[in-house]
C-alpha cells in the first residue's frame, strides 16, 4: 500500500497539463478503491451473473417444449404481465433468449443500478462525510480525482459484469442464446449501470449526507422503473422512452440486437457525469450545494424520548420510502383495471392464475404486485433496523448510553421505528395501490381489500427487523447479513414464480408464510406465529446487546 500511495506523487507532476492537475492521483485512488471493494464488488457481480445463468439454464427444463414457451409468452402478454417484465415486442419471439431478456432485464438493470450508485456514493460522499477525503485531498490529489476514481471503478465493475454475462450466457450453448445477443444482453446491463452511476455523480454533489445522496439516486432508479412499467403496459410506449431502463430493454437482445438505445444511455451517462464534475466545483469539500440552515436552539420534549429521537433520525428515509411506495402502488393500481379487461376470458391465463390460488384476475395480479411492494418495504425495514449499528460505529451511541438511557430503550427505540415505520410504509403502498386500483376498476370495495392485503405482510416485516436485531445483538460485525432476508424474499417471490421453486424454499422466507391476499383467503394463524417469532427475535437481540461490549472509535 505504501508504494501505491507514493507512486502518483512522483507521477502526477509529470502528467500533461491537459487537466492533469485536477485529476492527479486518480490512478492511485482507483487502485485504493478496488482494494477496499475487493470483496464487495466480486460478490455483487458474482451474484448477478449467477442469478442470470441459473435462470437461463432452468429454462431448458421449464420451457423445454415449444408449447410451454407459448404458454409462458401468453402468460405475460397482458398490461399487468408487461408492467412486471418488459415491452411486448419481445413476445414476437418465443426463443430462450427472448424470454430471458424479457423477464430479467427490467429487474437486473435495477440491481446493476443499485450496485453502481452505492459504489459511487461510497467512494465520494461517504469519504467526504467521514472527513477522510479531506486528508486525502491535502496530498497530491486533484479536485476531480475522487469522483473520477469512483466513476472509473463503477464503469470497470459494469464492464466486467457485461463481459462475464456475455461469456457465461454464450457458454451455456442454449438454442436461441447466441454470442451476439449475449454481448448485447451484457452491454445492456453495463449501460444501465453507467447511467445510474452518473446520476449518483450528480446527487452526491447536492447533499452533504451519503444516505441522502444514495436515496436521491435510488429514487431516480425507482422512477425509471415505474416509468417503464407504465409505458410498457400501456398502448404507446412513450413513457418508457423517458426511462434508462426502458432504453436498455429496447436494445432487444436476442431479438433485434439493437445497439443504438445503449448509445442513448452512454450519451446521458456522459452528460450526467459532466454535470457532476461541474457541480462539484461549485461547492466546498464536505459541503452540499445548499448551505446548512440554522436550526432550533433547544430540543422539543419529544426529542428526548427514545422513540422520538429515533424517529427524528429516521425521518428522511421514512418519508422517502413512504412516498416512493405510495407512488409505486398507485402505478400498479392504475393498470389493474386494464389487467382485468385484457385477461378476462383467456383460458390459459385463468388456469395459470388458478395455480396461484386466484379468485379473480385482478386479485391474482394484486397479490403478485403486493409481494413486490413488500420486498421494497423490507429494504426499508433492514436499513432502519441496522441504523443503531451505524450510530454505534460512528461513535454517537457512546454519549447517549452514558446517560440514563438504557441500552434496551435506545436500541428498542430504533427497532420500534423500524417496525412501526415499516408498517406505515406498507400501509401507504396498500393505500396507493388500493386508491388507484379502485379508481381504475371502478370497484370501491378493492380499497379495503388491498390495504388489508398489504397489512397482512406486516408481521413478516417485523420478523425481518427481528433478524436484524439478533445480528446486531449477537454478531454486530455481521449485521449486513440481514440483507439476505429481502434478497431471498425477492429471489423466491419473483424469480421463484418464473423458475417454479419448490414450496420449502418459500417456507424459509417469512414472507412465504403470509396468505396471498386478496387472491387467497385470510388465515390468521401464520400471522400470529410470525408476530410471536418477531417478538422473540427482538427480545433475543436486545438481550445480546445488553451483554456485549459497545464498539467505539
Amino acid at each position: 500500500m505504501t508504494s501505491a500511495t507514493t507512486a502518483p506523487g512522483t507521477r502526477a507532476p509529470a502528467a500533461p497539463a491537459t487537466g492533469g492537475n485536477t485529476l492527479a492521483g486518480t490512478r492511485t485512488l482507483i487502485r485504493f478503491a478496488l482494494r477496499r471493494d475487493r470483496v464487495r464488488l466480486p460478490v455483487w457481480i458474482g451474484a448477478l451473473v449467477l442469478a442470470t445463468l441459473t435462470t437461463a439454464n432452468s429454462f431448458r427444463t421449464l420451457y423445454g417444449d415449444p408449447q410451454d414457451r407459448a404458454n409462458a409468452v401468453a402468460g405475460v402478454d397482458s398490461p399487468a404481465g408487461l408492467a412486471l417484465s418488459g415491452p411486448s415486442h419481445y413476445l414476437v419471439d418465443d426463443g430462450f433468449g427472448s424470454l430471458l431478456s424479457h423477464q430479467m432485464i427490467g429487474f437486473t438493470a435495477v440491481l446493476v443500478g443499485l450496485m453502481s450508485v452505492l459504489t459511487v456514493t461510497r467512494h465520494t460522499r461517504a469519504e467526504e462525510e467521514t472527513g477522510r477525503a479531506e486528508l486525502v485531498r491535502s496530498t497530491v490529489v486533484g479536485r476531480h480525482a475522487h469522483l473520477a476514481a469512483a466513476l472509473s471503478v463503477a464503469v470497470l465493475a459494469d464492464v466486467v459484469l457485461a463481459l462475464l454475462l456475455a461469456a457465461g450466457l454464450t457458454g451455456l450453448g442454449m438454442e436461441g442464446i447466441d454470442a451476439q445477443g449475449s454481448l448485447v444482453y451484457g452491454c445492456a446491463h453495463a449501460a444501465a449501470g453507467l447511467v445510474f452511476a452518473a446520476v449518483a455523480a450528480v446527487t452526491v454533489q447536492f447533499t452533504a449526507h451519503t444516505r441522502g445522496a444514495s436515496g436521491m439516486a435510488l429514487a431516480v432508479i425507482g422512477a425509471a422503473y415505474v416509468l417503464r412499467a407504465a409505458g410498457d403496459s400501456g398502448e404507446n410506449g412513450a413513457l418508457s422512452w423517458l426511462s434508462p431502463i426502458g432504453w436498455v430493454q429496447r436494445s432487444y437482445p436476442y431479438v433485434d440486437n439493437r445497439w443504438w438505445p445503449l448509445l442513448l444511455c452512454l450519451v446521458s451517462a456522459v452528460a450526467c457525469a459532466a454535470a457532476g464534475f461541474v457541480l462539484s466545483t461549485r461547492r466546498d469539500v464536505g459541503a452540499g450545494l445548499r448551505p446548512e440552515k440554522a436550526g432550533a436552539a433547544t430540543a422539543s420534549a419529544v426529542l428526548a424520548t427514545p422513540v422520538g429521537f429515533a424517529l427524528r433520525l429516521h425521518r428522511g428515509m421514512l418519508t422517502g420510502f413512504g412516498t416512493g411506495l405510495f407512488l409505486m402502488g398507485a402505478m400498479y393500481g392504475s393498470i389493474l383495471g386494464e389487467a382485468e379487461d385484457m385477461l378476462a376470458g383467456i383460458e390459459e391465463i385463468e388456469e395459470a392464475l388458478e395455480r396461484i390460488g386466484g379468485a379473480g384476475v385482478a386479485e391474482s395480479f394484486a397479490s403478485m404486485v403486493m409481494a413486490v411492494l413488500t420486498v421494497v418495504a423490507a429494504v426499508y425495514v433492514v436499513m432502519a433496523a441496522l441504523r443503531p449499528r451505524s450510530e454505534e460505529t460512528a461513535g454517537r451511541a457512546e454519549p447517549l448510553l452514558a446517560t440514563g438511557l438504557s441500552r434496551s430503550r435506545w436500541a428498542g427505540g430504533h427497532l420500534a421505528v423500524a417496525t412501526g415505520g415499516g408498517t406505515v410504509v406498507l400501509l401507504l403502498a396498500g393505500l396507493g395501490f388500493g386508491i388507484a386500483g379502485a379508481a381504475s376498476t371502478g370497484d370501491a370495495g378493492l380499497l379495503p381489500d388491498l390495504v388489508g392485503a398489504a397489512l397482512a405482510y406486516a408481521p413478516a416485516l417485523w420478523v425481518t427487523a427481528g433478524v436484524a436485531a439478533v445480528l446486531f445483538g449477537w454478531f454486530p460485525r455481521a449485521v449486513q447479513a440481514a440483507w439476505i432476508v429481502p434478497v431471498y424474499a425477492f429471489v423466491v417471490g419473483y424469480l421463484g414464480q418464473i423458475l417454479q421453486f419448490p414450496d420449502w424454499m418459500d417456507d424459509l422466507s417469512p414472507f412465504g408464510h403470509v396468505p396471498r391476499l386478496p387472491a387467497a383467503d385470510m388465515d390468521w394463524t401464520p400471522l400470529l406465529w410470525l408476530t410471536l417469532v418477531a417478538a422473540g427475535l427482538m427480545w433475543l437481540g436486545l438481550a445480546g446487546f445488553r451483554r456485549r461490549d459497545l464498539d467505539m472509535k
Binding site: 449526507h209 430540543a299 427524528r312 452514558a402 440514563g404 438511557l405 441500552r407
Partner: protein, 314 residues
C-alpha cells in the same frame, strides 16, 4: 463515606490486545482526580468500563458504590460524561444535542445551560456537522455540566479547546468542585491536570504506576535548584541526593543541580556556607514526573528527553 470510584486489578483485553492489565484507581468523593497517561495507555478503556459501556474481564469496579455493568442506567443518572472524541448527529443542532443528552440524564437546569452556552461562546443553532472539533466538545461539556451530576467523568475534555476556552473550562470545573462534585479528569495535558487536580493517578500500559496527591508525587521527584553564591560552592556533588551538578555561567559562578525531594534541606544548608546571592528553585512539574515514568518510551521514540538531566530514564 464510600469512595466515588474504586478499581482494583482491572483487566480488559480486545482479542489478543491487552488494554488493561491490573489497573487500580481510587477516587475520593469531592476531589478532582487527574487520570494521566500517554496515548494508548488505557485511559479511555478504563473510563468506558467505569461507564458500563465495556465489560471488565476481571477485577473489582465500583462507581458511587455500585457495579457499573449491572447498574449502568441508575449510575448514569448520577454522573455526566464527556467523551474524548465527541461525535454529534449531523441533522441535529448543538442545542438539541445538549437538551437531549441532559434530559436523558434526568434533567436540565435551564438557567445554567443558558449561562454555560454564553460562557463557552457556543452557537446552539448550528447543525452538528457544521461544528469544529472544539465546538463539538463544548456541546458535550455544556450538556454534562448543565445537569446535576454527582460525578463528572471527563475524557480529555479540552483537547480541542482554544486557550481562552480552556480558562473558562478550568473556572467551571473549579466551581463544580466547590459545589462538592467529584471529577475524574483524564488527560495527557499535564499543566491542566496540575492546575485542577487534588490527586493524580498515572497509568501506563494498562497499569497504574503512580498514585497520590501532587505533594506526595513531588516528594518522589527532584527539585531543580539554580544558585549563585559569593564563593564557589564545593562539595555539593558529594551530598546524598544531589544529581547533575553543572556550572551554568563560569563568570558569575552560577550552578545548577537537581536534588531529591527529601534532601532539599541538606543541600540548602550546605549552600548557605558559601553565601547565597540568589537562588531559584523549580518544583518538579508533572512533565518531569511523566518523563521519569515514560522516559524510556520517549527515548525509544527518538524524542529524547530534551533535558540536561542525569536521571537515568527508568
Amino acid at each position: 463515606m464510600t469512595k466515588a470510584i474504586t478499581v482494583s486489578g482491572l483487566h480488559k483485553s480486545f482479542g489478543r490486545t491487552r488494554a488493561l492489565d491490573g489497573l487500580d484507581l481510587d477516587v475520593e468523593p469531592g476531589e478532582v482526580h487527574g487520570f494521566l497517561g500517554p496515548n494508548g495507555s488505557g485511559k479511555s478503556t478504563t473510563i468506558r468500563v467505569l461507564l458500563g459501556l465495556l465489560r471488565a474481564d476481571s477485577g473489582a469496579v465500583r462507581v458511587l458504590g455500585r457495579d457499573p455493568w449491572a447498574d449502568a442506567v441508575e449510575l448514569h443518572r448520577r454522573l455526566a460524561y464527556v467523551p474524548g472524541d465527541v461525535e454529534l448527529w449531523p441533522g441535529l443542532t448543538g442545542g438539541e444535542a445538549i437538551d437531549l443528552l441532559a434530559r436523558l440524564r434526568g434533567g436540565l437546569d435551564r438557567r445554567r445551560r443558558a449561562e454555560l452556552v454564553e460562557r463557552f461562546d457556543l452557537d446552539p443553532t448550528k447543525k452538528g456537522r457544521a461544528y469544529s472539533k472544539g465546538n463539538r466538545q463544548k456541546v458535550a461539556i455544556v450538556a454534562a455540566l448543565a445537569s446535576d451530576a454527582e460525578l463528572l467523568v471527563l475524557d480529555e475534555p479540552t483537547a480541542g479547546l482554544d486557550p481562552l476556552m480552556e480558562v473558562v473550562f478550568q473556572d467551571v470545573i473549579g466551581e463544580a468542585k466547590a459545589a462538592g462534585r467529584t471529577v475524574l479528569l483524564s488527560s495527557h495535558i499535564l499543566a491542566q491536570v496540575e492546575k485542577l487536580a487534588d490527586r493524580v493517578s498515572i497509568i501506563r500500559l494498562g497499569r497504574t504506576v503512580q498514585s497520590g496527591s501532587l505533594g506526595e508525587l513531588r516528594h518522589l521527584t527532584r527539585t531543580t535548584i539554580e544558585v549563585e553564591t559569593e564563593r564557589p560552592a564545593t562539595g555539593l556533588a558529594a551530598l546524598p541526593g544531589v544529581h547533575g551538578l553543572r556550572t551554568v555561567d563560569e563568570a558569575t559562578g552560577r550552578i545548577r543541580f537537581d536534588v531529591d525531594g527529601g534532601r532539599v534541606d541538606g543541600a540548602v544548608r550546605k549552600l548557605t556556607e558559601f553565601g547565597i546571592r540568589s537562588l531559584i528553585s523549580h518544583p518538579p512539574t508533572l512533565e518531569e514526573l511523566m518523563l521519569r515514568h515514560y522516559g524510556d518510551e520517549l527515548a525509544a521514540n527518538g524524542h529524547g528527553t530534551g533535558r540536561d538531566t542525569d536521571g537515568e530514564p527508568r
